[in-house]
Symmetry: C2
Subunit: 355 residues, 2 copies
């Protein structure tokens, strides 16, 4: 059956179209690396196993590597700014490379051993090689944009460079949160958490969106509006990640249930719960400060207390607030309606990941 | 006493002039980082101790952080191409940042615990934070060049990006050498070693020289000649480093005597000695394949055998060959004679480091 061209595309259809557009250039870029970092990059992207054996069915479907939201945002934002999506492919490639770089290095720093139900790169290949693979992806992203044959490549590199600095800043803030206390004047405040999330997650989605507009040759206010929309999406995305880190189904997240709680990670639901300073919050503090990583029973109790103190609903509210802000940014400038429609179609799909 | 302006500057004077020109911009760039990576960067640059206390006397003299050869090369190559050295300061800053990034990450990958008689960053601050600090320096270098207000910033970023990819390739090659055998068809050949050194060390000095020319607005043949001169200098530099790694004075290198031998590192003197396949080489193989890291006595014997097999003199010849090639590159295009004179003044100073 042929789909009538007037039918509105569904989120999976939109993501698949953008993936198909970007994937050949992404594959080609990774192949330009030295074979060793290239293998680690392909492993990290979910394309291959340790040793380089291809994962069946990933070519095209990309099923093992998230949904390709970032690359889709770059393509759709170029279209929203009136250019063919093809013009932004080089930006989408750079964004995917930087995303993979940051996962790879963050997993080393955070000591995370699994991601998407597989070993992380440092766990599978060793820390040194994982550092190298991350550096290789970083360098490749910069080179890809710098060498792109477009008059906008200078602006695109500047856009990427400022994102890279934000990413590093966000990761520094996140790592420093670990040694901060749960209560008292030095406790991490929800607004500090928001700033961290803005740098760590917001920056990359902001870059994805902004790069699309830059490569479309959009005027500064359009670039700015789309980049801001992307940043809001990123923070919403992070809020949902925080919910998944506590209440997510391990089958979907690929991580143990209550993973963030066991590891005493300072995420938004916990900080929002603690900020209420009610009986549930005080109970929660007692659990969190009792000692080492939480066991199953304690983690379950802590999750319950966070919910009782309103941390779960506050996080959902936070996510929806940022989605609304993203929509408002899209409304603030004149954009191509079909592409904006597709971006809007993706929004609930981003948030409504299985918990 | 005032120095007459016609007197030819000595190597230390040339290096000091270039350092004084670059240092304010380098300091300013590092200060733009998040305070935590900024502290690690300052530690790595020899400006401060763990905790951030300034090292006395480093402001200006820069004594604890090598000689500043790379930044000098960038400044002098801009002058050789007919522009004021000031034009190239942004490139010199980027090169120093990338140099520091690569030391930082390489020390993690190589497991090196000391550098310049101090703890390496990963040893002093932890592996995760050291990964982060390296990423921060990398991002800062790209941003510094991308945001420089010059018509040449696009070309400069492209130059840097290709260097970054070479650096990663060289480090991958070097790490893979470790698991290769000392003899037989899979042994590392001297020409493979040369290729690795070209990527790992040659690329950065090539970038330092080339960036100076790019930022001076030099025509392509001039950029190319200076970049090639820089690459040859880098390979010569690496050869000398290899000599220092075996026969260097620990007081000067900041590393234990025979350090590279103890760690069974595949450096040029060893590979050149093994390639002779004579009696000394066969003796050497027996020592190298006898087991774990070498003890004092065995390392001393190995050093003697390398010398007997001609590995030490072959490495010196290699260094001088690359110095000659660098001089030939400088002769191949028309350049400002004073600046070329200063570059030539630096050459023996590079090679004749105390052993």
């Amino acid at each position: 059956m042929t789909m009538p061209t007037t039918a509105r595309a569904t989120a999976p259809q939109i993501l698949a179209r953008c993936r198909d557009l970007v994937r050949p250039a992404l594959t080609q870029a990774v192949q330009r690396l030295h074979p060793w970092p290239a293998e680690m990059a392909a492993f990290s992207l979910g394309w291959s196993e340790v040793g380089g054996t291809l994962v069946p069915g990933t070519h095209g479907s990309h099923s093992s590597h998230g949904k390709g939201v970032r690359q889709a945002l770059t393509v759709l934002c170029a279209e929203a700014a009136g250019a063919p999506g093809e013009n932004a492919v080089v930006g989408a490639v750079a964004v995917e490379l930087i995303h993979t770089f940051s996962l790879l290095h963050d997993d080393i720093m955070d000591g995370d051993e699994t991601r998407r139900q597989r070993a992380t790169v440092w766990k599978a290949y060793g820390t040194g090689p994982a550092v190298l693979a991350g550096d290789a992806l970083f360098a490749l992203a910069v080179e890809t944009l710098a060498n792109s044959r477009t008059v906008h490549s200078g602006a695109a590199v500047r856009h990427l460079a400022s994102t890279l600095n934000d990413l590093v800043r966000g990761q520094a803030e996140d790592l420093l949160f670990e040694s901060r206390p749960w209560t008292g004047p030095d406790a991490v405040r929800p607004d500090e958490y928001r700033s961290m999330a803005g740098h760590k997650t917001g920056a990359l989605l902001g870059c994805a969106a902004g790069l699309g507009a830059v490569l479309a040759g959009a005027p500064a206010p359009t670039v700015d509006a789309l980049a801001r929309a992307g940043r809001h999406l990123g923070v919403a995305f992070q809020a949902v990640d925080d919910l998944l880190g506590i209440w997510g189904d391990p089958q979907v997240t690929g991580k143990p249930v209550h993973n963030d709680l066991r590891r005493l990670k300072k995420t938004y639901p916990v900080l929002a719960a603690l900020a209420t300073d009610g009986p549930a919050a005080r109970h929660l503090v007692a659990l969190l400060t009792s000692g080492d990583p939480l066991d199953d029973v304690t983690a379950r109790r802590a999750a319950r207390l966070i919910e009782d103190a309103g941390g779960r609903s506050a996080t959902l509210t936070e996510a929806h607030h940022h989605l609304d802000s993203a929509r408002a940014c899209l409304d603030s400038v004149s954009l191509a309606p079909t592409a904006v429609g597709e971006i809007l179609t993706l929004l609930p799909f981003l948030i409504d990941r299985r918990m």
